[in-house]
Symmetry: C2
């Protein structure tokens, strides 16, 4: 691809887009261009009726009996199994429960407990701050420390004292992407476990946990998985590791026999031991229904379209050449997630003015305008128009 772009050329791209029909699986509000799906994914069509049925029929009529008839207790594993193929994991390797920071606390704690001779959790300074907070606390509690290095200093910091490397695949500010195969291999070469935060990857960027030998992963489900506001996080533990790790935040649902109400904890076999407490049934129902939007959609095709959308956005910004407005996301495909971040000294004003014109992105202070490219529901024309608006408002500031 490459400019100059015209609406005609753009429409040709939409006409030949193999995912064009997927857009109809979402209830998008009229009149706005939504490029903030990396903050909160859009509402898929099946979600409202499904949540309604769970509230009115399963809860309202079935009451406590629906724990059995509605298979509510199984939802964390069942929905986890639906996320598994999107991150290249196998059945029985993914659970949906808690929040990303709690999931991280569990897995970092478990990784440290399993390797008492290693005392460092390694991360990078551009990691999502909440991950650093959770990892630092988990490390301190295990008598270890969190070591935070520059992204380029990772290799040098991979000493024999590192128990687990804890990184976010796609940088929340710039969209820069760590190469999972290389970093995972380097962690393994140093004898460390590798934990990936897939918050900005799942549903947008292929990961392939199995092929890359990823040990542990967490991620949220309300971004590109469209699970809804506050949807629970997911947690992945490679099968061969599951019985070697203990959940440092145990609760009855991770017990081998929760309804025996035994006084002493005995962890369940497999991934179930990483459950703690009662699952958020309404949120899980929403997420489950949202995942229907991925039925028959190859994550590779999503990625391909997302890259084409972001290439288009970047091309348009380059072409416009607005003083002060520059592309902050990496340009090579293998280094960029599913977003385009633009730097501007008045980023807050750019985002606000674009929103006033119905183009929704978000601000990451101090100077990043962030635009998420959710390929399942964005068209090339959407991105073309959104970029035009952003360029226009930046030009007039």
């Amino acid at each position: 691809m490459g400019g100059p772009w015209t609406l005609e050329r753009i429409r040709e791209l939409d006409e030949t887009d193999p995912l064009a029909e997927v857009r109809r699986r979402f209830e998008l509000p009229h009149g706005i261009l939504y490029l903030d799906g990396n903050s909160l994914g859009a509402l898929a069509c099946g979600v409202a009726p499904r949540v309604r049925a769970v509230v009115e029929d399963e809860w309202g009529v079935g009451l406590a009996g629906s724990w059995v008839t509605g298979a509510w207790m199984e939802a964390p594993a069942r929905v986890g199994n639906r996320i598994a193929p999107l991150i290249g994991a196998r059945e029985g390797e993914v659970l949906v429960a808690d929040t990303t920071s709690i999931a991280l606390a569990k897995l970092v704690g478990a990784a440290l407990d399993a390797q008492p001779d290693r005392h460092v959790v390694l991360s990078t300074s551009d990691n999502f701050p909440s991950d650093l907070y959770a990892a630092a606390a988990a490390a301190a509690r295990a008598g270890a420390t969190l070591e935070v290095v520059d992204r380029h200093g990772l290799q040098a910091a991979l000493t024999g004292d590192v128990a687990v490397v804890c990184l976010t695949h796609v940088d929340f500010r710039t969209g820069a992407l760590h190469p999972i195969p290389d970093v995972t291999r380097a962690a393994h070469d140093a004898g460390a476990l590798m934990l990936w935060d897939l918050c900005h990857s799942a549903g947008a960027v292929p990961v392939d946990c199995e092929e890359n030998g990823v040990d542990l992963a967490v991620g949220c489900s309300y971004k590109y998985l469209n699970g809804g506001p506050g949807a629970p996080s997911f947690l992945y533990v490679r099968r061969s590791l599951q019985d070697r790790l203990d959940n440092p935040l145990p609760g009855w649902l991770g017990h081998d026999a929760p309804f025996n109400f035994e006084p002493v904890y005995r962890p369940a076999a497999g991934i179930a031991r990483f459950l703690t407490s009662t699952p958020p049934v309404l949120q899980l129902a929403a997420l489950d229904a949202a995942l229907d939007a991925f039925e028959g959609v190859a994550i590779g095709a999503v990625r391909q379209k997302s890259l084409a959308l972001s290439d288009l956005f970047i091309d348009l910004v380059d072409e416009a050449d607005v003083p002060g407005l520059e592309v902050a996301s990496p340009r090579p495909h293998d280094r960029r997630g599913s977003q385009v971040s633009l730097r501007h000294p008045m980023a807050g004003e750019v985002v606000a003015a674009a929103a006033d014109r119905a183009v929704i992105g978000d601000l990451r202070p101090p100077d990043i305008c962030r635009f998420g490219l959710a390929a399942p529901y964005l068209s090339f024309e959407d991105v073309y128009r959104a970029a035009a608006t952003v360029i226009e408002v930046a030009r007039t500031l």
Copy 2:
């Protein structure tokens, strides 16, 4: 009160019941008598429309903007403030987030960290097992131990090495109730903090955290608070303690400035530091709407009716004198929660046969039939008919 009971006398009780109208605030399915509200509370009328509005309008149309316009981020504190009066807490002392076992891990961990010279968490063997699992893990991680004693051995175990006493107010099996004022005073006399699990109390049994000097509490909101399946837990920290305790499971929402994305954790002032991660917006909306059912209802009146209902249930069982069926719940009002538990050697069969006749209770193995008495939506006639059915099925076994 006292037998013999007739339907006429029962109906008189319903006619003079000051809470009789509150029942209309719930969507109860026809044809069943639901005495399992201590497992999952019934659906209040405002919940379905509220959840629908949050899904279809706030999420579907407002999208990420609803984090601000829908005040989603404030929901944990806002809904917490609505629970506060039901447990005798003040504004700014209650948050709704996570699950009960995670909330316990936070507060037990915080209590231990704040008292490094004390190395014991004290609990009782009849505590809810998940509480014991969470407390034991939190203790181990802080280099302390969980000491589990018989309910009657509490006083003797209250040595100067106890950092926190961690008990469930109402026993999940029998409904036996710890006297909060006495136990809390004893804990304080020993220099320990007192943590109450209010899962089976909140919304049914008055607690009065402030008057009793309760330090810490947790509880679930899907039982007598009717928050729905998997509704998040609540967490209470006495105001004067809040800035002395650290959240051992930190995350960005407990940071003093979450949207500054600072690399190092700085806890927020007050109760907010006990937040970790993104709130489950749909579940919080359901709970918030469910709490409308308590508007204008004094928790003392709920308790009075609940005791009258359970007295009636107990009287009827006594009067029937069925071989093998006996009351397992304490009889004195000040020793009983909001449930009636019956012991029967074939408890499972009793519960199943009653359910076949549309009377819903639940089983707690090996021999407890458990019936929750949710005063806001149960009538005396409901309880009369339910007891009659239970007695009848037990008699024919």
